[in-house]
């Protein structure tokens, strides 16, 4: 598709939105074409959320929007005016006192313990996706976890350890 016929939109055409990001209310002026992912990474210096494909195919950009896991690359920031966003940087705060003394959410601690990552690039997405999946409450068995976590690619191949970590947290919740 050629876009040259469209008249260039003024670079300062911005829209005001309010987001609560990791518990902090922020009023932001954002261009209508800016994705939630680019907003986080490029404007707000929240680079924990990763860009892996920009096409919703890899899950590296998974964040929680009002507690639901979404691919931040597929959402325009202006669509989420008023929403509550949790990124990997805010997971520790989400634990509501459930965070360990190290400030980590139990899923973060479990990922470290089970070596559920290698290069670490897909990890923030895997973590947010895990929390979103646990919120959904459907996955109980290893097979169900594997299925429900299949939107998050890990090229280092840490899948079995990711399932171990999630299972650990699930069992902790059940206790």
């Amino acid at each position: 598709m050629r876009l040259e016929s469209a008249s260039p939109v003024a670079a300062d055409a911005k829209i005001g939105i309010r987001l609560t990001i990791n518990g902090e209310v922020r009023d932001i002026q954002v261009a209508p074409w800016t994705t939630l992912l680019d907003l986080l990474r490029e404007r707000l210096d929240l680079t924990g959320t990763k860009k892996g494909c920009d096409h919703g195919q890899c899950g590296a950009c998974t964040v929680l929007v009002d507690g639901t896991r979404v691919n931040a690359c597929l959402i325009l920031a202006v669509m989420k005016d008023g929403a509550e966003i949790t990124t990997v940087e805010g997971l520790g705060g989400l634990a509501n006192g459930g965070a360990g003394s190290n400030g980590l959410h139990p899923i973060q601690a479990a990922f470290v313990e089970h070596d559920a990552f290698q290069c670490g690039y897909c990890t923030p997405g895997q973590l947010c996706s895990s929390v979103g999946m646990l919120n959904e409450g459907h996955a109980r068995t290893r097979d169900e976890i594997r299925e429900a976590m299949s939107g998050n690619l890990c090229r280092c191949g840490a899948y079995t350890n990711i399932v171990d970590a999630i299972e650990d947290v699930l069992q902790g919740e059940a206790r």
């Binding site: 260039p8 990763k50 520790g92 070596d115 290069c119 299949s150 280092c156």
Partner: protein
């Protein structure tokens, strides 16, 4: 002389499972990757990729792009500043022979997706939008991208690639022996072109520091390589270019060579005298390195008991028109198996693509896949169990190196322990003889092998007066756990708790290490760090002994141990001095040592060094749907000393998962009419997802090796080698269909 590692007598951390020291940074988002560093004057570059595979650019019109508010400049071959003239200047540390690709060099199009312009703008979205407005006109020629089309023009590369062993001279008479052999098998094998696809797209952030100085954050598996490349290409002093990359979001070989985004970001930063970041899109991850296609024929002649009488492995690998990429494809059969008549040949054929590059276990994945399926075919032809067949032809020497002994080879233990764990004895060998409900069950196995290497490497250790130790060099942490194992080695070398040790990597201000690849980092950087720490230990020991009324007076360095932050007499631990006390007494704020580790020449002249594996897999195949599920894997590994069983296991898991991808899913599909990869996204290039991966059991067998003082051999690649063959062999066992072309997809099974 090689001294075995346990200088402290207390290997507290080495050998024990430890969580990654960089784990907290990676699970909280604090670990920063190349595209995540910034500068106040940062501009964003977006690459315009060639729409054709071969021809010339006749016109580039960037006026519409440049008119977009926020666009700073559009760089093309017509307006870019000059860089170095000679090929030599562009040859990085791991470049194959040839003329390295130069982005925006001239009007020639050498491959599809080649960068033809860089749009630089104040923000990312503006650069991306303006890039769509750059109009490029081409004179198009017909590309050749199918290796079968140029097989007749294949040639033996005239110039050998540094570090890549060419095939050995043939021995015996393989062709005559084959013709006379009672059992004769000759088949063609082929794997698909694969792309590394690390999760982190390639990216470079060049921060312009003013006064001709740059700080560069580059996605690279070794920052020294980028620094030397930048200095050489842009005519800068190394001191004016600091390259850093503390974390790499996966490389698998794609980050060994400086890629074109680095060149473009540097070019723009130098031109604009401001900071520039260039990040490739996912589809642009198909516009540089890849695992090449290879045409392979394996010929096995054997007696009726499976004893090999003749062995031929002939391969033609793809390369580009501008470089002779080479990897070790055909040597492996000669390393693994005893045979009196062997011929191994390796040729190249040129295609209109970018130069291929090393991808996890380059060459071994390609060659061992073919050999290990052929061995399974021989097992069926002779009725000999696949393990028994491999033991019958087991080689105790490396025939490709004139019969040198192996430094160690615990492959038999891999067979034994792997088979035991897997339950191989319960296998009924006939195809289609095992079933689980509506699914056919197949059990297959294969051998894996990879060279164990060590490279000249430097490292620094710094002990400060507070008792904290910092170690490091320029090596890349590529996800393998290098931060962690180096901290373990350092902590043990000075008898400190791991919390008191910090590892610094991926920064050219540190002593130089080679790129992290080839599975050599643990042996190389590990040894260098150990030596630097021991040098610090010797210095602090001198201070301790010089203290007034020192408990260590008149004690030799050889008679003390370093443990719990103290230096103690080995046979009288009550006589001890703490490191902190010794430094204070000596009036030292810091003790620093830089040491170099080099391969052991005596060892290498006597021995060859390889890691080995035995991979066992179970597949379950729905006969009507042709769907393959890989329900069980046991990978038994012989790789010398295991420094950290936790991260080591992850290395093997990762290799196995990529092997599963190679066997069942991964395939970059070239449209030969266009010379273009068609499935250049993660929706259509399938890599394993969580639901594809069931249980993977990793066994490390005991193996003592003396190639380096740590006894370590390296683990980054061995996990993938042999995995695809084991899967193909299991598929044959399940279905009776012999799969010689990867990936094994539903259409091939129905």
């Amino acid at each position: 002389m090689t001294q075995h590692f346990s200088t402290t007598g207390h290997d507290t951390f080495v050998g024990s499972p430890r969580s990654r020291v960089d784990g907290p940074a990676k699970v909280t988002g604090l670990a920063k990757y190349a595209a995540e560093f910034t500068a106040s004057d940062l501009a964003h570059g977006y690459v315009v990729s060639s729409a054709i595979a071969k021809g010339r650019i006749t016109r580039i019109d960037a006026r519409a792009a440049e008119a977009v508010p926020g666009v700073v400049k559009v760089l093309t071959h017509e307006n870019r500043d000059r860089t170095a003239w000679l090929d030599y200047n562009y040859q990085d540390a791991v470049a194959p022979p040839g003329s390295p690709f130069r982005a925006l060099y001239d009007d020639a199009i050498l491959y599809s997706g080649q960068p033809v312009a860089l749009v630089i703008a104040e923000d990312f979205e503006t650069a991306r939008y303006a890039a769509t407005l750059v109009r490029v006109k081409y004179d198009t020629e017909t590309p050749v991208t199918d290796v079968r089309q140029v097989e007749d023009e294949a040639y033996v590369p005239p110039k050998k690639r540094n570090g890549i062993k060419p095939p050995p001279k043939p021995w015996g008479d393989a062709d005559a022996a084959f013709d006379n052999a009672p059992i004769q098998l000759r088949q063609d094998y082929r794997l698909a072109i694969e792309h590394h696809n690390p999760m982190e797209p390639h990216a470079s952030t060049v921060v312009y520091e003013g006064d001709g100085k740059y700080t560069v954050y580059d996605k690279i598996q070794g920052v020294s390589n980028s620094q030397a490349y930048i200095a050489s290409v842009f005519g800068l002093k190394k001191d004016d270019v600091r390259v850093m990359n503390p974390y790499l979001g996966g490389g698998f070989g794609s980050g060994l060579r400086p890629q074109y985004q680095l060149f473009l970001a540097m070019l723009a930063a130098r031109d604009l005298k401001r900071s520039v970041r260039v990040v490739l899109t996912r589809d642009q991850m198909w516009t540089f390195s890849y695992r090449p296609d290879a045409l392979q024929t394996v010929s096995l002649g054997a007696d009726r008991d499976g004893g090999l009488q003749a062995l031929r492995h002939d391969a033609t690998g793809a390369t580009s028109h501008f470089e002779d990429y080479q990897e070790v494809v055909v040597n492996w059969a000669g390393v693994l198996y005893k045979c009196d008549n062997v011929a191994l040949t390796y040729k190249l054929a040129k295609l209109d693509t970018h130069t291929p590059s090393d991808m996890r276990a380059p060459g071994a994945v390609t060659g061992v896949f073919a050999i290990e399926i052929a061995m399974d075919e021989l097992a069926y032809e002779t009725g000999v169990d696949p393990i028994a067949l491999r033991l019958r032809n087991y080689s105790d020497v490396d025939a490709t190196a004139g019969g040198k002994l192996f430094g160690s080879k615990a492959l038999k233990s891999c067979f034994e322990q792997g088979a035991e764990r897997f339950g191989w004895a319960k296998r009924t060998p006939e195809p289609r003889s095992m079933r689980d409900g509506r699914e056919l069950v197949g059990w297959g196995m294969a051998t894996g092998v990879w060279e164990s290497m060590m490279m000249q490497t430097n490292a620094r250790a710094v002990l400060t007066a507070d008792g904290k130790l910092e170690v490091g060099n320029t090596a890349g942490e590529i996800g393998t756990g290098t931060y962690t194992i180096l901290a373990q080695i350092a902590a043990d070398s000075l008898g400190l708790p791991m919390e008191d040790v910090t590892t610094k990597l991926g920064d050219t201000s540190l002593p130089e290490a080679p790129v992290s690849g080839g599975s050599w980092t643990a042996a190389s950087s590990g040894t260098a760090v150990m030596k630097a720490c021991r040098s610090v230990a010797a210095q602090v020991f001198v201070l301790a002994r010089q203290m007034e009324a020192s408990p260590l007076a008149n004690v030799d360095f050889e008679r003390v141990v370093f443990a719990d932050g103290r230096i103690a007499v080995a046979d009288d631990p009550s006589r001890s001095v703490s490191l902190v006390e010794a430094m204070r007494a000596g009036g030292m704020d810091r003790i620093e040592a830089v040491e170099s580790a080099t391969p052991d020449k005596d060892f290498n002249s006597a021995y060859e060094a390889y890691t080995h594996s035995a991979v066992f897999v179970e597949v379950k195949i729905d006969e009507e749907l042709g769907q393959v599920r890989l329900t069980r894997v046991v990978s038994a590994i012989a790789a010398g000393k295991i420094l950290n069983p936790k991260t080591a296991r992850s290395q093997i898991l990762g290799g196995v998962v990529m092997g599963i991808g190679s066997a069942l899913e991964e395939e970059s599909m070239m449209d030969h009419r266009l010379g273009r990869f068609m499935n250049h996204n993660l929706g259509e290039y399938h890599v394993p997802v969580n639901a594809d991966i069931y249980d993977i059991d990793v066994i490390f067998v005991d193996e003592e090796d003396k190639a380096n003082p740590l006894g370590v051999k390296g683990l980054g690649e061995i996990g993938i080698v042999g995995t695809a063959a084991a899967i193909a062999n299991a598929v044959f066992h399940a279905t009776g269909k012999r799969m010689r072309h990867l990936p094994i997809t539903v259409d091939k099974l129905l």
